[in-house]
C-alpha cells in the first residue's frame, strides 16, 4: 500500500464515522438524552422545594451528588493522561485512542462541574464562589478547598478543551476539503484557517508540545485538589495525607476503564478495527493493571494504618465500620471490582479477550463509583460522636440525578462523535508515513 493510498484509507475510515447515523445511533442518542432529561426533571424538584428530596441528613450532608462529582472528575483524568503524558513519553499506542480519550475528558469535566453546583442548598448563588469584584465587597475564602475546586475544575475544563481543539485543527481541515453544507462551515471554524503549510506545521507541533507539557501537571494537580476536599477536613476517614496520590491513581484507573468501555463498541460500530487494534486495547489494559495495583496498595495502606490505632480510635472505628457495617456490601464490591478485576488483567489471555476486558472495565467503573461513595458517605455517617451516627440511603431523586450524569455524558459524546473525528487523522497519517511497511504491519497487526 502506497502512502497516498494509506492516507486516503485512513481519511475514509474516519470520515465514515461522520456518515448518516443509523437507527442504533438514534436510539442511543434518544436513550442518553431521555435519561439526561429525566435527571434534569428530577433535579428540578430539588430546585423547587429543597434538598429534602435527597436522603441526606446530619451527619451525612454529602451523598450521591458529591460522589458523582468526584467520579466524573476521575473519569476526566485519563484523557489528559493518554493524550498529554503518553505524548511526552512518545508512547505510540496512544495515537489511535487519544482523541476519544480527550473528548471523554472534556465531556466528563462538563459533567463533573455541574454536580457541585447541583448539590448546593442555594444553587442560584453558585456564582458567589467566584472571586468577582462586587459592590458588596464580598470575597471568597481562599482557605476553603471548595474554592480550590472551582479553580481546579475551571482550569482543567479550559485546558482540556483547548488541547482537544488544537489537536482537531488539522483533522478538521482535512475533512473540510471534502465536506459540504453546514459541516463545511463547522470544519472551517474548527480548522482555524489550517492550510497544512510547513510554517503552520512547525508552529503546530511546538504548540502541541507546549500544551501537552502544560496539561501534564494538571493530571496530577486537579485530582489532588479534589482529594483535598476530603483530606484537609478533620473527619476520620477523610483526613489522610494519602489521598492525593490515591485519588490520582483511582482517577486514572476509572478513566482508562471508561476509555476502553467507549473504544470497544466504537471500533466495532464505526469499523475502526484497523485503526484501533487489539494492541491498543492491550496497552490500555496494562495501564489498568498498573493503576489498579496502586489503588489496591492505597486501600491496604489506609486500612492497615487505621487498624494499628488503639480501640476507641475514631479512624479505626470508621474503617471497621466500612468493612463490617451496613455499607459492607459497598466496600467489598468495591474491593472486588477495583482490586481483583485489574489484577486478573495481568494474565495476557484475560486481557486479550475483548469481552472479558469489557466486563472488567464495567466492573471497575462501578467499583470506582462505589469507592467514592464509600469515602464520602461511610466516613460521614460514622464520625466522632456515636449518638449522631446515621445511615444515608440515596433516594430515587438522587439516583435519577446520578443516572442523568451518564445520560448527559453519553449524549454529549454521541453528538461529539458526529462532529469531531474520533481518531486523529493527522497523527495516523504521520505514523503511516514514517512507519516502514513491515513495522506498520507489526504495529497494527498484533
Amino acid at each position: 500500500m502506497s502512502a497516498t493510498e494509506s492516507f486516503r484509507s485512513i481519511e475514509d475510515t474516519v470520515r465514515a464515522t461522520h456518515g448518516r447515523p443509523g437507527p442504533a445511533y438514534w436510539i442511543g442518542l434518544a436513550l442518553a438524552g431521555g435519561v439526561a432529561a429525566f435527571g434534569a426533571w428530577s433535579y428540578s424538584l430539588i430546585v423547587r422545594t429543597g434538598l429534602h428530596w435527597t436522603g441526606l441528613q446530619r451527619p451525612g450532608m454529602w451523598g450521591n451528588l458529591i460522589t458523582d462529582f468526584v467520579f466524573w472528575v476521575g473519569i476526566a483524568h485519563s484523557g489528559t493522561l493518554i493524550s498529554a503524558i503518553l505524548f511526552l513519553f512518545r508512547a505510540r499506542f496512544r495515537t489511535a485512542v487519544y482523541r476519544v480519550a480527550e473528548m471523554m475528558t472534556v465531556f466528563a469535566v462538563m459533567t463533573a462541574g455541574l454536580y457541585p453546583i447541583l448539590h448546593l442548598g442555594r444553587p442560584w448563588f453558585a456564582y458567589w464562589l467566584f472571586p468577582y469584584p462586587n459592590q458588596r465587597e464580598l470575597w471568597v475564602n481562599f482557605r476553603s478547598p471548595l474554592i480550590w475546586d472551582v479553580f481546579a475544575i475551571s482550569t482543567y475544563l479550559i485546558v482540556s478543551t483547548v488541547f482537544l481543539l488544537v489537536g482537531v485543527a488539522p483533522d478538521a481541515a482535512a475533512l473540510r476539503e471534502r465536506a459540504t453544507g453546514w459541516r463545511r462551515r463547522l470544519y472551517a471554524v474548527l480548522a482555524f484557517g489550517w492550510r497544512g503549510t510547513d510554517e503552520q506545521w512547525r508552529h503546530y507541533t511546538r504548540a502541541y508540545l507546549f500544551f501537552a507539557a502544560f496539561a501534564t501537571p494538571l493530571v496530577v494537580s486537579v485530582h489532588s485538589v479534589v482529594s483535598w476536599d476530603f483530606a484537609v477536613s478533620v473527619l476520620p476517614g477523610w483526613h489522610s495525607t494519602l489521598f492525593p496520590p490515591y485519588f490520582v491513581a483511582g482517577a486514572i484507573l476509572s478513566g482508562v476503564a471508561m476509555v476502553i468501555l467507549i473504544l470497544v463498541p466504537l471500533r466495532r460500530a464505526f469499523r475502526l478495527e484497523a485503526l484501533i487494534t487489539p494492541h491498543h486495547l492491550d496497552m490500555l489494559a496494562r495501564l489498568i493493571v498498573l493503576t489498579g495495583l496502586v489503588v489496591t496498595y492505597s486501600y491496604a495502606t489506609e486500612i492497615l494504618l487505621a487498624l494499628q490505632e488503639p480501640a476507641g480510635d475514631p479512624e479505626r472505628s470508621t474503617f471497621l465500620y466500612r468493612m463490617t457495617g451496613p455499607y459492607a456490601p459497598v466496600f467489598w464490591t468495591m474491593v472486588l471490582c477495583n482490586c481483583v478485576g485489574p489484577v486478573l488483567l495481568i494474565i495476557p489471555a484475560v486481557r486479550r479477550r475483548t469481552a472479558v476486558l469489557f466486563g472488567i472495565c464495567v466492573a471497575i467503573t462501578v467499583g470506582m463509583w462505589l469507592e467514592r461513595f464509600n469515602i464520602v458517605v461511610t466516613s460521614l455517617s460514622h464520625d466522632r460522636l456515636p449518638f449522631d451516627w446515621r445511615v444515608y440511603v440515596p433516594t430515587w431523586v438522587e439516583w435519577a440525578v446520578t443516572a442523568g450524569a451518564f445520560g448527559w455524558f453519553f449524549f454529549l459524546f454521541l453528538v461529539g462523535l458526529k462532529l469531531v473525528p474520533p481518531v486523529s487523522i493527522a497523527e495516523l497519517k504521520e505514523e503511516a508515513a514514517h512507519a516502514p511497511a513491515g513495522a506498520e504491519e507489526a504495529t497494527h497487526g498484533r
Binding site: T49, G50, L51, H52, G55, L56, Q57, R58, P59, M61, W62, P116, H119, L120, G121, R122, P123, F125, A126, W128, L129, L138, W139, V140, N141, R143, S144, P145, L146, I147, V150, D229, V232, S233, V234, L235, A311, G312, P314, S317, L380, D383, R384, L385, P386, F387, D388, W389, R390
Partner: protein
Amino acid sequence: MSDPSQRPVGRRTFLQVAGAAGAASVAAGCSPRAAVQKLVPWIVPPDDVVPGQPLFYRTLCRECAAGCGVTARTREGRAVKLEGNPEDPIGRGALCARGQAALQALYHPERFKGPLRRGAGGALAPTSWDEAEDALAQALAAAQAKGPGRIRLLTRLEPGATGAVQRAFMKAVGARPEDRVVLEPLDPAPLRRASEALFGRAELPVLDLSAARSIVSFGADLVETWLSPVELARQLAAARGRLGAERARLTWVGPRLALTGVSADRWIRCRSGGELAVALGILRALVEPARGVPVPEELRAVVPRLQRLAPEELAARAGVPSGELERLARELARRRPSALLGPGAQAQGPEATQLAAVVLLANVALGNVGRTLRYGLDAREDVPSSAADLRALLGAMSAGEVDVLLVQHADPVGTLPTALHAADALAKVPLVASFALRPDATTARAHLVLPDHHTLESFGDAVARDGVVNLAQPVMTPLADTRQAMQVLLELGGKLPVPASFPSTDPYDVVLARAAEHATRATGAPPADVAPVHREALQRGGYWWDPEPRPPVRLRPGAAEPFLALPPPPAADGALDLVVFPTALRGDGRGADLPWLRDVPDALSSVSWSPWLEVSPATAARLGVGTGDLVSIETAAGRAEVPAYVFAGIRDDAVALPLGAEVLSVLPASAGAAFYWAARATVARAGRRTRLPLLEGSPYQHARELVPVVTAAAPSPRRPDLSARMYREPDHPEHRWAMVIDLDRCTGCQACVVACTAENNVPVMGADAAREGRYMGWIRVERYLGDEPGGELDVRLLLMLCQHCTNAPCEPVCPVYATYHTPEGLNAQIYNRCVGTRYCSNNCPYKVRTFNWRDARFERPLDLQLNPDVTVRSRGVMEKCTFCIQRIRYAENLARDEGRHVADGEIQPACAQTCPAQAITFGDAKDPASRVSRLARDGRAFRALEAVNAGPAITYLARVRPEAEP
C-alpha cells in the same frame, strides 16, 4: 406578596391593636386590662411601647399544678418568649420545657376563634357570646329547678380566683361541694390519702431536698413531672452540689430507669409493684434494734409488727437481691437528713396508698418529717379529686343524673383510661359546655364551646402553697373572640333565675378583692388601699411571705398498722408488667399537640412524634422484635399497637409506655386514689414495622471516653496535652464569650432545648423530617447508655450545642465566608451569605449544625411568636447555636448606652436562663474573675472531643460518681 387587606389580621392592624393595649396598660399602671375597643394612632406613641424594645410582664404558668411565676417578654404587643420569674420562690427564674411551650398553646393554630354551639346537623357552628351564655343560663336554670346534683363542673386544679369563682358559682346554682370535680391526673393522690390516714391531714408535704443527704425516689419523677419539677430539680442540684460526704445521694427505685433515675447514683431495679416491698424492707431494716438508730416514740408500737416481716421474703417480692435493701437502709441511717419520695405515676398500682404510707413512715423513722418533708404549707386552696370521685361523677352522668356538665380545662376522654368510659358518660349528658382553648376529645362531644382566654391573656392568681401567691395578668390583647372562663361564670351568675350576688363580672375585680387578703398576710396588716399595693405585686409577679409555723404533724396512734401488710406476691401468669410513665416533655400527654413538645426528642429514648414501648434487650430478643417493630399490648382493659423501643434501662419482666392518647385503651380503670395504674400485659410482635423518629444513632460510647465521670479517687478527667501550637490563635480584644455546662447538675429535662427553640425561631419540621434525621434543634441531649453494646448500663448525658471553637473546623472550609470567627469569640453564621455547600457541617466534629432542607412553615398565628430579633432562615442555608447573639448585643448596647461594661451574668442565653438545675453558665472567658472562668478552672472540667483541638468555648464539668460503699 398578598394584598394586606386580604389577610384576616394584617401586621399593621395587629400593631395598632397591640399599641392600643399598650396604651391602656400605661393608663392602668403597668398591666393592661381587658381588651380596649378604641384604636390609638401611633402619632402619640405610648411611653413604654418602643418599637424594637421588649416589654416584660410578670405572670403565671398554668401548664402543670406547680404554679411557677413567669416573665413574658413581649415585642410590639405580642408575647414572644416566656421565662421564669427570678423573684418567684418556686421557679426562681427557671421554667421547664412545658412552661416554655405554653406560648404555643397561646398561638395554637387550632384555637377556637369564638364561641361555638352544636347545631341540628351535629356540627359545631359559630355563635355569639350572648346567645351561648343565654342558652347555657337557660339550661342551668332548668337543671337547677330539678334539684341538686343536676349541674356538675369538671375542672383542672384551680388554686386561685378561678377556683373561688367556680365554687361560688356552683353554690349559686345550688350544687353540692362534691359536684365540682377537680381532675388533675398526675396529682399524687395516694400521698394525700396516706397523709390523711397517718397524720390526719389530707395534704401534700412541701419538700426541701436541698438539706437532704440522701434521697430515695419511689418512681417519683421529680425532675420531670412530680409535684413541682422546676423547684425540685433546683433543690436536687443544690443537695448534690455539696462536696465530699455532704453530697446528697439519690436512689431511684423502680422497674424502669426514668430521667430522674439517670440523675440517681443508684438504681434499685425492683419489679413493677415491688416498690412497696422495697419500702417495707427499708422500714423494717431501719427499726432493727441493732441499727443504732433510735426508733421514734411514735413508731415504737409497730416495731414488733415490722419485725415479723422476713427481709428475704420482702426482697424476693421486690425482685431485688436481699442485701440491697439492707445496704440502702444502712446508708439512710448514716446519711441524715434524708428524703424518701413517692410514689410517682410510674410506681402506682393497687397498693399505691400503702406504698405512700410506708414511705412516709420511713420518713418518720428517719426524722425527716418537718425537715425535708414539711407539712402544713399546703394551702389547700383547691384539692384535686381522687379517681373515685371522678368515677362517681361518670357514674352519675351515665345514669342520666346530670343535665349540665361544665368542663374547664379537663379532658376526661383524651387523658384518662378508656376503660372509664368517659366518652359514653358524656354522651348521656344533655348539655356539655367546655371552656377549652382548642379542640380536644371532650370538645368533640360538647354541645357548647365557650373558649377561655389563655393564661397569658387573663387575670388570675394561684396559691401555690402557703406564702406563695403568684399573679397572672394579660400580657397581650386576646387573639380571638374568646372570653375568660371566670368572667363567663360571673356573667352566667347574673342570668340565673335567682341572680347570684357577684360584685362584678370583671375578673380583675375578683383578683383585686382576693388581693386584699394576700396583701394582709404578706405585710401583716390590711392595706389602706389595695389597688397600688396590687399594682406593685403585679409588677413583682405575686405576693410572697414567710408563713407562720404550723404545729408539727404527729403520727396518729394505730394509723400505721393497716399499712404494714406483706405485699402480694408477683403474679405468675406469664404476662409482663406494664408501667406507664409521664415524660418531662409531654406530661400526662396533654402537651402532645404542641409542636415544640412533640418535636423535641425524649431525653431517654430520643423518640419524638410517636409513642413507644420500652422493651429490655432480653425481652425484645425473646419476642423477636427490634426498635421500630410494632408490638401489640393486650391488657384486661384493651389492646393497642405501639412501636417497640429496645432500652437497656428496664427490667426484663416489664415493658413501659409513656402516657398519651395512644395508650389509654390499655390502661386499667383505677379503683384507688390515683388515675393511672400499672397493669399486666401480654406483649407480642404485631408483625409490622414503622420507622420510629429517633435521634440516637448509637447509644454507646464505643470506648471513646466522650463523657468522662469523676470520683473521689480520680477527681479530674483525663485531658490530652495540647501545648503544641502550629497556628496563631485568633485575637479576642474585648470579650471571649464562653459557657460552662455542669453535667453533674444537668438532668436532661430538655427545658433548655425548648427555650432555645422559642428564642431562636427554630422551626418544627414534623414527624417525617424527624424520621429522616432532620430534627432542627440547636441543642440536643446526647444520651449514652454504656461503653459497648451488651455492656454494663452506665447512662451519661452530654448536652451538645455549638462549641464556638477558637479554631473552628467549620470556618476555613466555607468557600464564601458564611461562617467566621467574630472578635468576641463567637462562631457566626451569616444566613444570607450561605450558599449551602454543607461542608461546615461535615467538618464539624460536634455535628451541631442543622441544614434547612426545606422552607419552614409557621402556620398562623404561630408566626406571631417569632422572635423579631432573630432571622427566620430560608431553605438551603445552614444554621446553629449563636450563643443567643441577640441577647449579647442587647446587653452590650445597653451597657454602652449606660457608659459601663457588661456585667458578669448580665447576658444569659435562653438555655442558661431557663435551666432549673442552673447547670449552664455563660460569660466572658477573658475576664479571669467571671463565673464562667472560675468554673472552667474546676478540677472536673473537660472539653468535648478535646483531642481534635478545635478549642471549644464550652467547658463541661464531669458528673461525680459516689465513692464505693464502705
